[in-house]
């Protein structure tokens, strides 16, 4: 569909380009009168004649070149100026941005057409003034668009990585930003040309262009001037209008095709041709009444086209139990959760099988019964509370509206009940009138839970309810949920990728992989006698808190100190609270120092200071060489528009020592082999989107090593990876530290990962170091209360405390 649009647009424009090329050659004297004025179309004059006896067809064709030339030139100049000003302002920030933005806003606010008219009145008529006038009135809008895009892109980790590697600003803009802006540039050019065509024709129609020239706008001016309308001589102005419309239409088609390319949601969705499989008559096994499952799933299959998200899953939820569903990304657990409430887009998904609730088949329910079922019987707590809440309504409004719509309560009664619900989840009454953005992450999650409880459902489906939260807040929420379960007699389906959490919290846990349910059993049984190899693998992937005893690096006195940090202090921009407060520590060659803290502890600020992206307000640090960084988000840390080879080659070239003539390609392959990516030559040619999350993090690691640093800062390098991949990456990190004598600063909020690979640990809280020391000793006997709190939260009830 998209291709039809693009091709049609291009064909139309190509035809006009051809006409523009040959037009003036075919009709060199189009402006000469050749017949009686205002003749209707006839054999001798296909489009008739104008009020001055000129041939309309000749005028239209001859006028194509001048019109299109000016339109495209203006389009190009407007795009160039807008991009130059916008990207510079967005990328540089600070004073440059303020000055350029002010200039842009002033031009934006001054109305274009009147400005163009006034300027044209003062300037001599002609093509040059027309171009000048149109560019001056049109550049500002594009500048704003480019600035917004540059602002977004400059925050991407791959831009930071380029700066850390030592690239200059200009090179970063050209080599890292612009390749990601190609669709924006193309769309801007098309849009600018469309504007230029319309504005130019408009100005000429008003008599402000060069009236002697043969252009479409001038043709229309003369048409109006010669009272073509009042004499009913429609042929004088219709052909030119059609020509303008066709070119405009071609440009719009191209733009629409481009839009759909960049935003797939805009494409017209074809009606789902997959026949909805009729719900088979499933006979649910009749269990003795006392222990009948409250929710029963039988052979559920959910597919999106060729992808089988859920592939034949059957399970039972018993009343009052917590059933955990564990799995990594792509396991189908979230899809299953959504299907329990039939929240999937039914035109895109093919669902078959049965879901029984109180004897009724959920998948066969009509709209009325489904509405009665949803929220009042089974409710859901979504994963990202900030995305799930409506930003323009208060927390209270969002609880009240479901009460008024479903429970028929009036405003006062609904508010009272909402207050009660907020109390149940541990929030204060004044939170009723707070907007979502005014609440912290933990508070928002509680609001979402309160909304879920509004109609007193019997079953609650929790989809990763605490994943985005700090470990201590997580624990609080879980305690609340447990209490609510007891008080309200809820049955819970708890979906999470965090297997240890489920083992500690749930009555039974099911393990899902690739849409299948591999096994379901009690936590004790799974830990002791898991039947599936994948389950055992998953269990092993989560490091326990006890660090491996033998591989801790002895602190030898002759190990060189690579990093010395003394008294680093940094304040937040608008807050009296310090981001970092008098932080001091050392890192020796070959050792891994874990910096542990929650959000707001200052660990990210520390990373930015050590890599030179920010400067401390007070204090200093010395490092015996280069510092490189591995970022948290594997999807954001590589430039999507550049191949793997580019990411590794640039730092190699920038940090090449004099006299080193080694082939860059060979070095790139060598690096890829070091981080375990084979075949190196093939991987080097790939783009980031052709790699998995784990592979991308290895490339990021290779990129950091390419600059031959002495110190590596790893900022939560595994927190966005699946559990089974984490162990490998962490082991790789540790091995590289030992083998190459690197110092590694491993920043994390996850104590077990720190325990797995670190030698020493530093605990940060609100910018201050509250505890520091060798990892084993610190975890066995923490001295600070906060460290004990973190350990408590991480060491979930039921987890083994000794190997």
């Amino acid at each position: 569909m998209r291709d039809t649009k693009a091709i049609t647009g291009l064909v139309v424009l190509a035809i006009f380009a051809l006409i523009a090329l040959v037009g003036p050659w075919l009709f060199p004297d189009a402006a000469l009168p050749v017949g009686r004025p205002l003749q209707a179309p006839s054999a001798s004059h296909w489009f008739g004649t104008t009020g001055q006896g000129q041939d309309v067809l000749a005028l239209t064709i001859a006028g194509t070149r001048a019109t299109l030339l000016v339109a495209f030139v203006v389009g190009a100049l407007v795009t160039f100026t807008g991009a130059l000003v916008g990207v510079t302002a967005g990328y540089l920030g600070g004073h440059a941005d303020r000055a350029l933005s002010f200039l842009t806003n002033v031009f934006l606010v001054i109305p274009g057409l009147p400005l163009a008219i006034v300027l044209a009145a003062y300037l001599r008529p002609g093509a040059a003034s027309l171009v000048a006038v149109l560019v001056l009135s049109g550049w500002a809008w594009h500048a704003r668009v480019f600035r917004a895009q540059a602002l977004t892109l400059r925050r991407r980790d791959y831009v930071h990585a380029a700066r850390i590697a030592g690239e200059h600003h200009a090179r970063v803009i050209v080599a890292e930003l612009l390749p990601n802006m190609t669709s924006l540039l193309a769309a801007a050019f098309i849009g600018a040309t469309t504007y230029a065509l319309a504005a130019m024709v408009g100005l000429e129609f008003l008599g402000l262009g060069d009236l002697g020239a043969v252009t479409w706008g001038a043709n229309l001016y003369w048409a109006a001037n010669d009272a073509a309308l009042l004499t009913g001589s429609w042929w004088v102005f219709v052909p030119t209008g059609l020509a303008i419309a066709l070119v405009g239409f071609g440009l719009i088609l191209l733009n629409a095709a481009l839009d759909e390319l960049t935003n797939p949601r805009l494409r017209r969705r074809p009606r789902s041709t997959a026949s909805r499989a009729p719900a088979p008559v499933t006979s649910f096994p009749s269990a003795p009444a006392a222990r009948a499952p409250i929710l029963s799933v039988r052979d559920l299959r959910v597919s999106f086209g060729d992808v089988h998200a859920v592939d034949g899953v059957s399970l039972d939820l018993m009343p009052g139990e917590v059933l955990g569903l564990a799995g990594e990304s792509g396991s189908g657990k979230s899809t299953l959760g959504y299907t329990l409430l039939r929240l999937l887009d039914e035109s895109a998904a093919t669902v078959s099988g049965g879901i029984a609730y109180a004897g009724a088949d959920v998948l066969a329910m009509d709209a009325r019964r489904l509405r009665a079922y949803r929220w009042a019987e089974v409710a859901m707590v979504f994963q990202g509370a900030l995305d799930a809440l409506n930003p323009v309504l208060t927390a209270g409004d969002q609880i009240v509206d479901v009460l008024r719509a479903r429970a028929g309560l009036d405003r006062k009664a609904a508010r009272a009940r909402a207050l009660e619900l907020l109390g149940r989840v541990g929030l204060e009454p004044h939170h009723l009138d707070a907007y979502p953005h005014q609440l912290s992450g933990g508070m928002r999650q509680r609001v979402v839970i309160a909304i879920a409880l509004a109609l007193s459902p019997k079953v609650l489906v929790l989809d990763e309810p605490t994943t985005a939260l700090d470990v201590i807040v997580q624990r609080e929420i879980l305690v609340h949920i447990e209490r609510l379960r007891r008080e309200l007699g809820l049955s819970i389906v708890f979906i999470s990728h965090d297997l240890p959490l489920l083992l500690a919290f749930a009555d039974r846990v099911g393990v899902m992989r690739n849409g299948r349910l591999l096994e379901v059993d009690t936590p004790a049984e799974l830990r002791a006698h898991a039947t599936q190899p994948y389950t055992r693998q998953l269990l092993a992937a989560f490091p326990s808190l006890t660090p491996p005893g033998t591989s801790a690096l002895p602190i030898a006195p002759d190990r060189p100190t690579l990093l010395e940090v003394r008294g680093l202090t940094r304040h937040f921009a608008r807050s009296p609270a310090p981001a970092l407060d008098d932080v001091s520590f050392d890192v020796q060659a070959g050792e891994v120092l874990a910096v542990v803290g929650e959000s707001g502890s200052g660990k990210s600020t520390l990373a930015r200071i050590l890599t030179g992206l920010e400067a401390p307000d007070r204090g200093a640090f010395t490092v015996a060489g280069a510092v490189q960084m591995v970022f948290q988000d594997p999807f954001a840390s590589l430039n999507p528009a550049r191949r793997v080879h580019h990411h590794l080659a640039r730092p190699l070239v920038l940090h090449r020592r004099d006299g080193d003539l080694t082939d860059v390609d060979a070095r790139v392959h060598e690096l890829l082999a070091t981080v375990g990516l084979e075949p190196a030559a093939e991987i080097a040619r790939r783009f980031p989107h052709q790699l998995s999350g784990g592979q991308r993090q290895r490339v990021a690691l290779a990129r950091a090593l390419a600059a031959a640093p002495e110190l590596l800062v790893a900022d939560e390098p595994t927190s966005m990876l699946d559990a089974s991949l984490r162990a490998d990456l962490l082991a790789l990190l540790r091995r590289l530290a030992r083998e190459r004598g690197l110092g590694v600063v491993f920043i994390t909020h996850d104590l077990p990962s720190a325990a797995a690979i670190a030698d020493r640990v530093l605990v940060l809280r609100r910018g201050r170091v509250v505890e520091a020391g060798p990892i084993a000793a610190t975890l066995r006997a923490p001295t600070h209360a906060y460290t004990r709190e973190l350990l408590e939260a991480a060491r979930l009830p039921g987890a083994p405390s000794s190997p």
Binding site: I110, L113, I244, L389, Q438
Partner: protein, 327 residues
């Protein structure tokens, strides 16, 4: 909150000052004596009164620039924009005032109606992706939007005015009528405004529809809509209070800007229909080289745009809690 409002007001005051200063500087920056140059460009030789009016507008070149600037600002503050050369001795301010009334009435109402209808249709088109509304309207409107607006207006005038005789051919009211607060006059005005208003609506509705549709599609894909549906709220509430309310925010900004541009944007309509609004006055001023009037109009148009933008900023502050500073 007041701080945010005041800082926005501050920006607009600075932009207004920039426009005023630009207005002051442009004729004075031209080489030679502006008045003589302008007088020389005029097709007929300028009468002494016209020269006087121009000198008043461009300033006596003997006085130092700063003094002229101060006088200029003082005049503006008093509403004295000089005298029109083409309609001498009418005051520019008076001429503009009459034009303003017609433009605001015609353009303002047509634009508002187009915005409301277009936005509502955009919401519905996004809600029913597989319906005829979404299939048919965007391409049809894309095609109709590709025609130059004034050309469509000319076609409409030719068809409905000339050929079918359903609408009057020009002006805001019949020439033989005197403006008065009477029903007869009101009906006459409405008849004359019908065709111009219709062409504005037809030409602009497509833009509002498509942009609202696109924003809505984005919002409808978010998790908050899934939650709203899961809660079992009525489709109407999900559509309007959850989806549309969030999707409309960027479009309101566009509407504000468009409203501000009405004084200049309705220009083409007024030319085609010879409707005596500010746009028509501006083009007449350019054609008769009435520089004082031209300057005065440009100023009025710019200030109106700034005012409209400021109002839209206030509206956004009211509608989007995230733009307000934290309680």
């Amino acid at each position: 909150m007041t701080r945010v409002v005041l800082s926005r007001l501050g920006f607009y005051l600075v932009a207004a000052w920039a426009a005023l200063t630009l207005n002051f500087l442009v004729p004075r920056l031209m080489p030679g004596d502006a008045t003589t140059v302008m007088a020389g460009r005029m097709s007929a030789s300028a009468s002494p009164e016209q020269i006087a009016a121009m000198r008043a507008a461009f300033g006596d070149t003997d006085a130092p620039l700063t003094t002229q600037y101060v006088t200029y600002l003082g005049d503006i503050a008093r509403g004295d924009l000089g005298r029109s050369t083409s309609q001498y001795p009418a005051r520019v301010a008076d001429v503009i005032a009459t034009g303003l009334v017609w433009t605001l009435a015609l353009g303002g109402l047509a634009l508002t109606f187009s915005f409301i209808l277009g936005t509502a249709l955009g919401v519905l088109a996004a809600w029913r992706r597989s319906g005829w509304l979404d299939a048919l309207l965007p391409p049809v409107l894309a095609l109709s939007g590709a025609f130059p607006y004034f050309w469509l207006a000319m076609l409409a005038l030719h068809l409905f005015g000339f050929t079918l005789g359903w609408a009057p051919l020009r002006h805001a009211y019949c020439d033989h009528l005197e403006p008065a607060w009477s029903l007869r006059f009101a009906v006459d005005v409405a008849q004359h405004a019908a065709l111009p208003a219709l062409t504005i609506v037809v030409a602009t509705i497509g833009g509002w529809l498509v942009s609202m549709r696109n924003t809505m599609i984005g919002v409808l894909g978010t998790e908050q809509i899934t939650l709203a549906r899961a809660k079992g709220l009525s489709s109407r509430r999900v559509l309007w209070a959850y989806a549309a309310r969030n999707a409309i925010l960027p479009n309101l900004t566009s509407f504000g800007m468009a409203l501000g541009f009405i004084l200049g944007g309705s220009l083409l309509t007024e030319i085609v229909f010879s409707y005596p609004g500010t746009g028509y006055l501006l083009i007449q001023a350019v054609r008769t080289q009435d520089y004082p009037l031209m300057q005065g109009l440009f100023l009025a148009i710019t200030l109106a745009v700034l005012a409209a933008n400021f109002l839209v900023d206030l509206l956004t502050l009211a509608l989007d809690p995230r733009t307000r500073p934290h309680a």
